[in-house]
Amino acid sequence: MKKIGMISAATLMASGVAAWADELSVVCSAEQDWCDLMVGAFEAENPDTDVLMVRKSTGETLAQIRAEAGNPKIDVWWGGTGDPHLIAAEEGLTQPSGVDTSKLLGWAQNMAEISEGRTVGIYAGALGIAYNTEILADKGIAPPECWADLADPRFEGEIQVANPNSSGTAYTELATFVQLFGEDEAMERLAAIGANVNSYTKSGSAPTKAAARGETGVSIGFMHDMVNQAAIGFPLAIVAPCEGTGYEVGAVSIIEGARNLEGAQAWVEFALRADIQSRAPEVGSFQVPSNSNASVAPQSPDLASIKLIDYDFATYGSSETRERLLARWDVEVGDPNPQQ
């Protein structure tokens, strides 16, 4: 009976699926306002192109382009942390854009090299620690300065961080620790910090929002999220850990089989331009732009003054390393506080 009915449904097939040549379908994984700004600016320069933009998180986008592989409805995937972009490149879900990357900073070119041009870096954000100044002052806790401080008993029950199994942010933290301290010591240190963690959240930006509202004292996450919350008006102070820290690279990719390839290439070139990247702070996005000529907002974490590690995206972005590290994390660090 299943097959019989299958077709009667086709009645409902009305509005057209096919994109016209002058329509560009963009999935945006950055903040909504930044997405809107980009679309507005692109349409202003290319009045013939109708940009159809929808915002989805990187995980959702990756799941969608996997499911749609072979008959994609998306042309370009702009924004969002680089790991899923690299995975998409590795699985052949995206195609080389052929843009000129010579004006870009080293880490952005690096993304293009690893992925054979399939994805290009557009911004970077460093990993950091944030604390709620009011809570820590109330409780008389001295603010943290280093990763090592977080293992101190004074932070018991005050730290919140995401679970690396669900969050790319927390995986970046895990990989950063491994690159800073070596695998065995990293697990020990994470377990020691884990003793102070009140909960491992699912989403990477949740801990920082919780710290902003005073639901937790200290959070680990990306600094631009912290700057954003502080700029809104919450009592949040940001710390660049003294041992050095890792970072993420936000990326842009063209989907394999894109219907409007020319439009997609135009979008990638547009997204890498200095004048366009300089506009991000207008909408409260404080990531560091990848074009060396783009201006950096004064609020943005100054990457030059932060001790950045030489993050190895090729190794730590690969599925094999990821699965091994996460398996070790589950056993040696784990989620220690099943709340009942």
Partner: protein
């Protein structure tokens, strides 16, 4: 009857000859396909080389000839049935085998140029042919003596089975097979160890200080939520029907509010009230000198939020049922010298069993599938729905794990469903018999009345507080921190530039899309849901239990799984729907249909069958009986189905996230994006506008549907 078959067959042939077989770029109303020069209708495409379409047309023609030439009615019906079913099979097979990229199987045999060119998804022509073949089969089945010879019933069964098969089973199978996937094939060996692992079913929390498996966590939560919402819903329903409580209207609105609240909003409000830095928490911490704790994050927080969110569903199911309990029975009981408590305990309550069972089942399933509350408040308490979501979109995507967890979730649902069937048993709960009664329901005994007040009213007060917070939050600069008054959030979301007449607000697009899609989906959902309920309660046919369960399936599967499976199934021919608004409408209809079914079953099992029989005896057919007798008595169920499907289409999030596209963005997907970005003010302002829109819609619906009049007036007996 013969005429109906002829009508469908001729319509089918018309579709084959005159309508475009494949989908067209411009949509169904775009007439460009007539003039663009390519062979598009079934007939012309067959002539132009797509020979695999020819047999479909031939079966239609064949069935028509049989109808006109064979005289013996039974033989005619059987031959027509055979031909039509054959036609449907051909139609399905060609669609599944030859896709956009050419043939999928038998590549060595199918090598001609036209086949290798492939074909796009099916369009209007194919749809009309399929419908024609389906109905000529079902009518023929009824003509050959099955299904009590009632074509309306058999047609409805055929159509619903077909729709459920395409839009529930077909996509869901795409993802469930992943559970059995091993490298390079499928096997059961991997499945069982993974399925029965202690991560899923572990009972560690009972014995040692460890965590239980996710399925056990979910089960515990769902049982608690099901029981809690049913009791609260019953309290509210009793207050409404059996007491002279003054502020019933206010209470009525309060019971509806949580159901029309977009996801995350209740969770956020609870955090701001009861979180570690919440208003209430700080107040008591200062007053009593307690340490502010994080008790809200974990089981109790989710439970609290789910009780708030799902009590209205239980109430909507129960109110119709409690109203329906006939006063005659209660009078009989009191005449036999039972006091009011005994009457309630041994007469009224047992008669409410279908309502209680359905309310519990809905609460249970809603809790299992709930995604927003565990995400916001879950913390260390893992449940299936969020684990499935992160198995699909998390840092390590593992579709196999998601499929296995989804199967665990389905197992729980199936068990609850079976338990409910056993508890209800085969008793009759019919109380609306058409016989005259006094129209006075017994009032509650005082103790019970105060128990109801004592549970329901504090709850209502809490709802008021939560919603005042939400309204408050939309008018302040930074909710929870900077409480200076502002209209900025509303202006950003819903601004209109009156000088140019432009709608400058960022929310307008998604707002109108959401309203349009929900308004289309709601009546469809009600129709499909209530007709299914009618079939289940009133008709007997083979495989009824399986049919009943299959209609519950889509409700029990978490939205994330549905969303991804819809992309997998409907991104490619034969049915290509991704990126359209239709896929959103369909996903809402089939996800929310079970509420219509449950509500319909509960209401219909109270209608005595003698009403139908009287109507049939007087010469009406079953269609007329439904229209003139059953429908008017189903007012509350229709209202519940319409309301609920409308509201759910607006507030659902997890299925929608994968299916929205730039052209068709939905309000919830927009709100979630804002929440992720920490812009609570805008998200809440938008939610407030949605809540008001939905309230208005519900009031209009209530006026349109009207209240049913069971007896002269629904008065409560004065004590």
């Amino acid at each position: 009857m013969k005429k109906t078959v002829l009508f469908w067959l001729i319509l089918g042939l018309f579709g084959f000859v005159c309508l475009p077989w494949h989908m067209t770029d411009g949509g169904i109303l775009d007439a460009r396909w007539v003039t663009d020069g390519t062979a598009s209708t079934g007939l012309f495409a067959s002539i132009a080389g797509q020979w695999w379409l020819t047999p479909v047309g031939l079966t239609l023609l064949g069935a028509l000839i049989i109808q006109l030439s064979v005289i013996d009615p039974v033989r005619r019906a059987r031959l027509t049935l055979g031909t039509s079913v054959f036609g449907l099979v051909l139609l399905a097979v060609q669609g599944l085998v030859i896709v956009r990229a050419g043939p999928r199987i038998l590549e060595t045999l199918l090598t001609s140029e036209t086949i290798l060119a492939g074909q796009p998804g099916m369009g209007a022509g194919a749809a009309v042919c399929a419908l024609a073949l389906l109905f000529s089969s079902t009518i023929s089945i009824s003509q050959s003596g099955k299904g009590q010879g009632d074509a309306f019933v058999v047609n409805t069964i055929g159509l619903i089975v077909a729709l459920v098969a395409i839009f529930v089973f077909f996509p869901v199978i795409h993802i469930l097979v992943r559970a059995f996937e091993v490298d390079g094939g499928y096997a059961l060996t991997e499945f069982f160890p993974r399925f029965f692992s202690s991560d899923i079913w572990g009972l560690g929390c009972l014995i040692r200080d460890r965590s239980c498996g996710v399925a056990i966590n979910s089960l515990f939560l769902a049982v608690m939520t099901g029981a809690g919402t049913t009791l609260l819903g019953l309290s509210f329903a009793l207050i409404f029907t059996r007491t002279d409580f003054r502020a019933k209207t206010v209470l009525r609105i309060l019971t509806v509010l949580p159901i029309i609240t977009p996801p995350f909003v209740i969770g956020l409000a609870l955090i701001l009230l009861f979180g570690r830095a919440g208003t209430v928490t700080e107040f008591f911490a200062d007053l009593l000198g307690w340490e502010a704790t994080r008790w809200l994050y974990g089981f109790w927080g989710i439970y609290f939020a789910q009780l708030l969110s799902f009590t209205p569903i239980a109430f909507l199911v129960l109110i119709g049922v409690v109203q329906g309990v006939s006063p005659s029975m209660e009078e009989a009981s009191q005449t036999l010298d039972a006091d009011r408590w005994q009457t309630f305990r041994f007469v009224s309550l047992p008669l409410m069993r279908p309502g209680l069972a359905n309310a519990f089942l809905l609460g249970f399933i809603e809790s299992l599938a709930d995604f927003g509350n565990p995400l916001v408040l879950g913390s260390g308490y893992n449940v299936l729905s969020t684990d499935i979501y992160f198995a699909i979109v998390g840092a390590v995507a593992d579709p196999a794990k998601a499929a296995i967890l989804a199967i665990a979730l389905l197992t729980l649902t199936l068990s609850a469903f079976m338990a409910q069937r056993i508890w209800l048993g085969k008793k009759s709960y019919a109380t609306i018999t058409g016989k005259a009664d006094s129209g006075q329901n017994a009032s509650l005994n005082p103790v019970l009345k105060w128990v109801c007040y004592g549970t329901a009213l504090p709850w209502a007060a809490l709802t008021v507080v939560v919603y005042s917070m939400i309204i408050f939050g939309s008018f302040v600069k930074l909710w929870g921190y900077n409480h200076s008054f502002t209209l900025d959030h509303y202006i950003r979301a819903f601004g209109i530039d009156f000088t140019t007449g432009r709608w400058t607000g960022v929310a307008w697009d998604s707002y109108f899309t959401t309203l349009t899609i929900s308004s289309v989906a709601a009546p469809l959902t009600a129709v499909v849901g209530l007709s299914t309920a009618y079939l289940l309660v009133r008709q007997k046919f083979v495989g009824k239990d399986a049919f009943e369960f299959s209609t519950m399936l889509s409700f029990a599967i978490p939205g994330t799984v549905i969303g991804v499976s819809y992309i997998m199934a409907f991104n490619f021919p034969p049915i290509e729907l991704t990126g359209t608004s239709i896929i959103l409408i369909i996903v809402f209809v089939f996800r929310n249909m079970p509420v219509g079914v449950r509500g319909g079953i509960a209401a219909m099992s109270q209608l005595d069958k003698s009403l139908d029989e009287a109507s049939i005896t007087l010469g009406a057919n079953s269609f007329t009986t439904v229209r003139r007798v059953i429908l008017p008595l189903m007012g509350p169920a229709i209202l519940a189905a319409l309301t609920y499907s409308f509201v759910r289409a607006i507030t659902s999030v997890s299925a929608v996230i994968f299916l929205v596209s730039a052209k068709h963005n939905m309000a919830t997907s927009f709100i979630v994006g804002r929440v992720e970005n920490g812009e609570f003010g805008l998200a809440i302002a938008y939610s407030a506008v949605l809540i008001i829109t939905m309230l208005a819609a519900i009031l209009i619906l209530q006026l349109l549907v009207g209240t049913r009049r069971l007896r002269r007036s629904d008065r409560v007996q004065q004590a």
